[in-house]
Symmetry: C2
């Protein structure tokens, strides 16, 4: 049987430890192409490069059977150019990550990691975003290896319905502490912004975006609940954003 | 009665004709604050600025009662900083646009215009993104004025359910040609990428992202169908991305 063709990307950049780990794992499952940003692209959401040009070149980052390419664009750009220019055929799977930091609940909207997965999904490629709830450069990406392999194998075997990708978040925990996998819904949570206002050396005001993450959702079926209890959360994410349940009511408005 | 407080933003930048028109219209409905990017931010999706600083300063662009601020960040940044730093209280309405170009169907994911509206929605502010299906700088932003006012008034009066914002797209048509408003679902459509590969003056390869928009949806209840038939499309957009209909099936997987 032909080996599955797997696209690996991320938003922390091609040199980040998280993607190096993911490449290593995917080499066990198929033929791996890496097309990833040449620099960190965290918080890029689903940005695409339409008003400037892109570079995309072959590169050797470290040993392994994968073929690697850096791209000067966003995570969504990486997936687009991988499909159109780099890969020999449409991949059987796209995995994005392992992100350094959580992409649970509302963070899915800001996440370059998840936007890469969604971009693959738009192109009818089964896709998964993996994120570890630990921002540190030397975070423990090994604890969840068996789960990542299992989830990826499941998606290769079962595929995913058209219009759905998976958002997988991994708690900051040791292998022994991780209790298993929970299929969840996205928690209702958000960031309460508190901009940090400062004065630059030239006397001009500037701001740092900071904020506090607030979970307003008391459900025990959410990704936040799963992560707090040391489960790996798996949320099926759709990109038909229509609020179908509000259509009939909205039709009664006098627009 | 106190005048409603309205936040106006966009992704084409504070000087774009589309936002100038929207400011003019909103001045008829309430007290207007403008916090908009200092430069074009098209295709920025829901990007936020987390690894660098932001400037945000008062500016006078043209006459009118609005208070205006430019911001060096993305559309989502503009909404965040407007709420936390600029506005005297939480606004009663956020309108984003009028975008130069369509944000119908899958374009909602790439759209800075719509991400600004979603960001407002996350903060429980009723929000609408307006887009005109005409990229030209001198597009006709007058034809739809009455509809824009009517939709904004409706949202001010009825509010919107928690977790929903409106995506309004306006066909490229004269006032006489526009047939009215249709409440729609997001069409299943996407971009088939065709990167344009070139060689720079130094002999290096580079790419322009181009592509063809393909509507794969034959439904007559979609935004694409409405726009093709000279209706203004209104799609209620949610930001709980959970594919609730797939949860029970996914729970049967052996993850």
């Amino acid at each position: 049987m032909e080996k599955p063709l797997i696209l690996v990307t991320n938003d922390d950049g091609i040199n980040a430890p998280g993607i190096r780990k993911l490449i290593h794992l995917m080499n066990q499952l198929g033929e791996v192409y890496v097309v990833a940003p040449d620099k960190p692209q965290s918080g890029m959401g689903h940005a695409v490069t339409i008003n400037s040009t892109l570079q995309c070149e072959s590169v050797v980052v470290d040993e392994g059977e994968q073929k690697e390419f850096y791209c000067s664009g966003t995570p969504a750009d990486c997936v687009k150019i991988a499909i159109d220019q780099i890969m020999p055929r449409k991949p059987d799977l796209c995995v994005s990550g392992i992100n350094h930091g959580s992409n649970s609940s509302v963070n899915v909207l800001y996440s370059g990691t998840m936007s890469a997965a969604v971009e693959a999904g738009i192109n009818s490629i089964p896709a998964i975003g993996f994120s570890l709830c630990d921002f540190h450069y030397d975070a423990d990406f090994d604890a969840s290896s068996d789960y990542i392999l299992s989830i990826a194998k499941n998606v290769l075997e079962n595929k995913l319905p058209e219009g759905i990708v998976l958002n997988v978040n991994i708690p900051k925990a040791t292998k022994q502490e991780i209790k298993g996998v929970k299929v969840c819904r996205q928690a209702r949570a958000n960031w309460i912004e508190e901009f940090d206002k400062r004065i630059d050396p030239r006397g001009r005001q500037y701001y740092w975006l900071t904020g506090e993450f607030v979970n307003m959702d008391s459900g025990d079926d959410t990704d936040e609940y799963a992560l707090e209890n040391n489960y790996i959360s798996v949320v099926p994410v759709q990109f038909d954003l229509t609020a179908h349940h509000f259509l009939s009511q909205l039709k009664n408005w006098n627009l």
